[in-house]
Symmetry: C2
Subunit: 340 residues, 2 copies
């Protein structure tokens, strides 16, 4: 059913029907009412592209993320979509697969007016952000992996504090040589979590050792972790800034017959549903992923609908939660103390 | 940069520039070349909605799935997107959250021409499929959770055979009372996997017991599983048709102090990255999720681009893989046999 057929059914001109549907003052109320009831009866829907051309709004937002098969980005998409559905917006998903080249191509593609706004989380490889700085006309919100120096809204968790807390937790459970594993050091999240790690070491008078700060980009993470854990003076604690690196650590520990938590303790950022069921159960820092998606989308829609007031919160920080489990359990000293 | 500004820069009429960009025979090669090089220089891009109106193509497809935070649908999205990116298509994501009402609203919304085609996996609650049967004009491909009686392309795994194999595996490892857990029995995947389960019982002369076939919809799965495992004649094997139900089984076993695999063995369909690290490691049937996404998208693009030949494969079946781990390990009888 298109406009032409609807006009024919009503025995009216296309222009009259079109004006009636747009609630034009040139058309009588009686005609408008007849057009609307016939349109409803025949399930006529406005062509979204013609409508977008007139209104200069696509009612569509883009979400640009590294990967969809991910315990963090999955619930973030759910959160974004829950707001979009309430608002009647459509959600386009673009994946960078952690490649800067793909990220640039996607951003370029989105500049032609297909979307009303963009939400994104940076790719691991992105070292230059000029493609994002050029987006001056486009509403843009960063979440999780943000560009610190750009003055656009950012929704993150308290990465620095979480880094401090994770490291403290390991120290309090007896660790003295703690390694920090991250994916690219370019990422805001890696950087802030690492600064938290360094701060906690300093507060506990532990000499920092730069050979314990490892960046594991791409597919090589297991090689890097294996080399680290085979060292004579291997770490007694691992703080992994993303879940993937903790999973690899578990696998390498199995391979090298290292016991968690006796030989080495492990903590990581993770939104996995199975953390409590791992062998041993994994101590995690859980990010409020669904809420991050909801919050970032809510801010983006305010920008799109020009409800931005003179004061716009540039940074929204949601708190993560540390859940202590067996992978960081302290050695029991009770036996020695109480033995006769 | 819009068409008007581009025309001004070139000192040509809008109509001439527009025709040149569309490669019209009315325009000289010299002018076309001047227009194209200026357009490139100024990074002019065609307005996608004006372009869509002319071509009646949106270069966009919709993916309708129950949930994005899921170890199966995540890699499926990655697979779809990999084909869409090659083809220069955009991917809209819609979530039904397992609600038929939302599914109907989404399908209705998509009938107005915003997308060139739809790929979908049914919601758990969908009992009536008339909203899908009305989509006669719209290219449609089902994947995983399909509507069996509709003559549209379907991409699935070998659910029946996988059901047979999973059940056989439990029987061969000593199980005699095997429960089958699924989400909604309406779903094609639940139904086929259950038929495979029944077939395997029959082949091994095990009397079927309908009280061991449980449907756990919504949030109640733990209540249902707890009740099942507290029974006097509780099952000695669990075949979970989706990962969520195996995770719940693990949690209830922990709670009731039942040992896996000694007291009860567990197998399930799962694409989890952590299956091998669970306590105990979980025996899984792994679906080729990324490939399902790629295959379904490839078929959809053929339909969209009207490359459908007189013969169109209606059903594509990709094989799943059973990976045996500790959660189904047989009791070791070696000790008794070899003891002196």
């Amino acid at each position: 059913m298109n406009l032409k057929q609807l006009a024919k059914e009503l025995n009216l001109s296309i222009s009259t029907v079109s004006k009636a549907l747009r609630d034009s003052h040139e058309i009588s109320i009686a005609t408008k009412s007849a057009v609307l009831s016939k349109a409803k009866e025949l399930n006529y829907q406005v062509n979204p592209f013609a409508s977008s051309l007139r209104k200069q709004k696509s009612k569509t937002i883009a979400v640009v993320i590294p990967d969809a098969a991910n315990d963090f980005f999955g619930p973030v998409i759910n959160g974004i979509e829950s707001v979009a559905q309430e608002k009647g917006y459509h959600v386009l998903i673009y994946l960078t697969h952690e490649e800067m080249k793909k990220e640039i191509a996607i951003i370029k593609l989105l500049q032609n007016g297909r979307v009303d706004g963009i939400m994104m989380s940076l790719s691991e490889q992105t070292t230059n952000t000029s493609h994002l700085e050029e987006l001056t006309e486009m509403p843009l919100v960063f979440f999780d992996r943000v560009v610190e120096h750009m003055t656009v809204p950012k929704v993150t968790t308290d990465d620095f504090n979480s880094g401090v807390n994770a490291t403290k937790h390991l120290i309090q459970n007896g660790c003295k040589r703690i390694a920090f594993l991250s994916i690219s050091p370019n990422l805001s999240i890696s950087n802030k979590r690492m600064k938290g790690y360094q701060e906690a070491l300093k507060a506990h008078n532990i000499e920092p050792d730069s050979s314990l700060i490892m960046s594991c980009s791409g597919e090589d993470d297991k090689i890097i972790i294996r080399r680290l854990l085979k060292k004579k003076n291997r770490p007694d604690g691992i703080f992994a800034s993303v879940e993937k690196l903790a999973i690899s650590t578990y696998e390498i520990c199995q391979e090298l017959k290292l016991k968690i938590p006796q030989d080495i303790k492990v903590i990581c950022f993770s939104n996995s549903q199975t953390a409590a069921l791992l062998n041993p159960s994994l101590t995690t820092i859980v990010q409020p992923a669904f809420e991050i998606g909801r919050e970032a989308a809510t801010i983006l829609f305010k920008l799109v609908e020009k409800k931005r007031h003179h004061f716009m919160l540039e940074r929204t920080v949601l708190n993560s939660t540390l859940i202590a489990r067996d992978s960081t359990k302290a050695r029991r000293v009770g036996k020695i103390k109480h033995s006769k």
